[in-house]
């Protein structure tokens, strides 16, 4: 679990204020340090009550909440915050990894769910995607990254004015990458959001899909646009 070496330079899209609720002192310190290295500010709460008080008072961009904490468990903290009108995006950390545990977590008001043990690069990528200041692109119908353009209504993709034909799944893959342009997107995030599966494929099938897509959107154009971030994932970024 190392901080991704490259995220500092490429994935950095504005500093975030993050609240970490984690009762394991060592893990919390590590997260605080790693978030700081990635250019973010993280505050740590060692139990649910303290976490709830901090979250209720402070203005955080993203919260990372451990599911099992002393004094008050993560899900009840989230539910309490949501009932008070707090809409700060929450990523739940949990040792419980079955699909139904994930569903319970998301139903309680969490926005994303990560099973322990996790790679920090994965956590960072997910937190950055959750960042509410990154702006909601859900409502936009046309995504533009550099000279690449994707029309969500007509399902057409153009680069530098040239039409690119994509398979339905490739279109969804590109759509997700473009929605989170400038952010690191991990392989598991792609599998979850584009294929709706949460398991770990034995072979890295996602890489092959991405390289196919890359072939279509980069071949014949001089500038690379879909970057591989070593040890983390991919990022779509215009020149």
């Amino acid at each position: 679990m190392a901080a991704p070496q490259s995220s500092g330079e490429i994935a950095y899209n504005g500093s975030m204020k993050i609240l970490v609720m984690e009762d394991d002192r060592e893990a919390a310190d590590y997260l605080q340090k790693a978030f700081a290295e990635a250019g973010h500010t993280a505050h740590v709460a060692g139990d649910g009550e303290t976490g709830f008080a901090l979250a209720d008072a402070g203005d955080y961009d993203v919260m990372v909440i451990d599911r099992l904490m002393p004094r008050r468990d993560g899900l009840s903290v989230i539910a309490a915050l949501r009932s008070r009108g707090n809409t700060t995006p929450v990523l739940i950390l949990s040792a419980l990894g079955e699909v139904d545990d994930r569903v319970t977590g998301l139903r309680a008001g969490g926005d994303d769910y990560l099973t322990k043990p996790y790679a920090f690069s994965e956590l960072l990528a997910r937190v950055e995607v959750l960042n509410r200041r990154a702006g909601a692109r859900e409502s936009e119908t046309i995504y533009r990254v550099g000279d690449l353009e994707l029309d969500r209504l007509s399902h057409s993709v153009k680069r530098a004015g040239r039409e690119i034909t994509l398979q339905p799944r490739e279109f969804r893959l590109l759509e997700y990458l473009m929605r989170h342009a400038g952010q690191v997107v991990t392989r598991t995030m792609l599998l979850e959001n584009v294929w709706d599966y949460h398991f770990d494929p034995q072979t890295n099938v996602i890489d092959v899909h991405v390289s196919r897509l890359r072939g279509k959107i980069e071949k014949g154009f001089d500038k690379p646009i879909l970057h591989t971030i070593r040890g983390a994932g991919y990022m779509l970024k215009g020149g």
């Binding site: 079955e98 599966y197 494929p201 099938v205 899909h209």
Partner: protein
């Protein structure tokens, strides 16, 4: 097995028997009382009828010839053997004639039926009693219950009708109660005897039946004790009688089999963890140690750390897979089922693997019908299928000129068969094929391929979770891995 009395009384069988016995005895005693009182009142009624008839006859005699005829008739009847009691006294109660020598004072003072049986003595009997040294006249009022026992010792009991003749003389016509009382005593004795027999029978049945039950229970507890002692292969005795004890034993045996299976699974998991996690952990540690030992450039350290991370990730994957298999097999997974379009899931997974197959030069094609909905867990089925397709692509790559993986989904009989067939080398040996789904089993030829050896075990556990099967069949050439889902309802 010898048991002391307190020990016997502690058994459920003995307690139940005792309770039944008590209830039974209570009913029997009630029956005795009811029958004796019923028969007594019936006999008393008969006696009264007889007396009424006598009185009628005497009344006619009196009408015919007045007192002299009456006296004559009374004297004649008194002398007959087994005669009723007759007594004629004057207005002051002085006995004039009849076969009664003495009776309880006060009996003839009240006209009508005597309210209670009274004691009396016939002529001739008083002398006999006195000769034997018995007492006679001072008798106490007796009830019907104990009069039977005192009969012969304290005179006889009788009931009588007392009348006053027109000339104020008193006439008594009575009947000895000896016969009804004897009858009642006989009934009572026989009922008591029956009760005693019943009690004895109950005790015998309790002894034999209860002991048989106790023996069965003891054998079950003995077997349990042996099993608790650590012999999980032990089973409770089943006699084949098909009774409740057999059913109990059978259920307990099924439970034991399940426990043994879980225990075996647990043991296997710990063995496998020891083996398959220790090895990479040791490698991890050695690599870190080696990196620390020498003098290296920064890039070397970075490389070593990256290797460490990659190795840890693999460890975590393996660990997760072991955990998942164990949970699914043990049946305590929290995963739930819901309607899943199996055909769509198959298409998804095939589409997911298509680029990988193409890159490896393997033709991956799927024959999938329209929508087929089953009750299942999409995530788990997707994972199982992706493991199988992953394997098929790996093992057919380079095995032939034109490697091919076919995925078919069809309904055969009561099952949905999802088959992944490759044309690689397959697993020719039957025993090897059977072993391939066991945890961490990596057949010799596959040692060179990357993987944890858990893919097929996980798929098998997932099929078990879905009440289905995972079969490995020879495809000649190649291998066909068939996931069979049971079809419920009329889908």
């Amino acid at each position: 097995m010898a048991l002391s009395l307190p020990a016997i009384m502690r058994t459920t069988a003995a307690r139940l028997s005792a309770l039944y016995f008590l209830l039974f005895a209570l009913c029997a005693v009630l029956l005795v009382f009811y029958m004796t009182s019923l028969s007594a009142s019936m006999l008393t009624g008969q006696t009264k009828d007889t007396i009424n008839d006598e009185v009628l006859g005497l009344a006619r005699a009196y009408q015919r010839g007045g007192l002299p005829v009456l006296v004559r008739v009374v004297e004649a009847r008194s002398r007959q053997p087994g005669a009723n009691l007759y007594l004629i006294a004057d207005a002051n109660g002085q006995i004039l004639t009849g076969n009664v020598q003495s009776l309880e004072p006060g009996v003839i003072e009240t006209v009508g039926w005597t309210s209670e049986p009274f004691s009396y003595q016939r002529f001739g009997e008083g002398e006999l009693d006195r000769m034997r040294g018995g007492t006679s006249d001072q008798t106490t009022p007796q009830t019907g219950e104990n009069s039977a026992q005192s009969e012969g010792e304290k005179g006889h009991n009788a009931i009588a009708l007392v009348l006053r003749l027109p000339n104020q003389m008193i006439m008594l016509v009575g009947r000895d109660l000896g016969e009804p009382e004897r009858f009642r005593a006989v009934i009572k004795r026989s009922l008591m005897l029956a009760l005693g027999m019943m009690g004895l029978g109950g005790l015998l049945i309790w002894f034999f039946v209860g002991r048989a039950a106790l023996r069965r229970i003891d054998s079950v507890s003995d077997a349990s004790r042996r099993i608790m002692g650590g012999d999980l292969s032990g089973r409770l005795p089943v006699t084949g009688a098909g009774d409740e004890f057999d059913r109990l034993s059978e259920n307990l045996n099924t439970m034991l089999a399940r426990i043994a299976m879980l225990n075996e699974g647990l043991k296997q998991v710990s063995d496998n963890i020891a083996h398959d996690l220790k090895t990479p952990l040791t490698r991890l540690r050695n690599r870190a140690e080696a990196t620390l030992a020498g003098k290296h450039k920064t890039t070397d350290y970075r490389q070593a750390l990256e290797g460490t991370i990659a190795e840890s990730d693999q460890l975590i994957k393996t660990f997760n897979a072991i955990l998942m298999i164990s949970r699914l097999e043990a049946g305590y997974s929290s995963e739930t089922t819901s309607p899943v379009d199996l055909a769509a899931t198959v298409s998804d997974v095939v589409e997911l693997y298509e680029p990988v197959a193409e890159e490896a030069g393997v033709v991956l094609d799927a024959t999938v019908p329209e929508a087929i909905t089953i009750d299942g867990n999409r995530e788990l089925i997707g994972q199982a299928l992706s493991n199988i397709v992953d394997n098929a692509i790996k093992y057919s790559t380079g095995a032939t000129e034109s490697p091919k993986v076919r995925v078919t989904l069809e309904r055969i009989g009561g099952e949905l068969k999802l088959a992944v067939t490759d044309n690689g080398h397959g697993i020719p040996d039957d025993a090897d094929r059977a072993r391939a789904t066991e945890r961490f089993v990596r057949l010799e030829k596959s040692r060179s391929q990357p993987g944890s050896g858990l893919g097929l075990s996980l798929a098998k556990a997932i099929m078990t979770f879905h009440n289905g099967r995972l079969d490995l069949l020879p495809a000649d050439p190649g291998l066909s891995v068939v996931m069979s889902f049971p079809v419920r309802g009329t889908n």
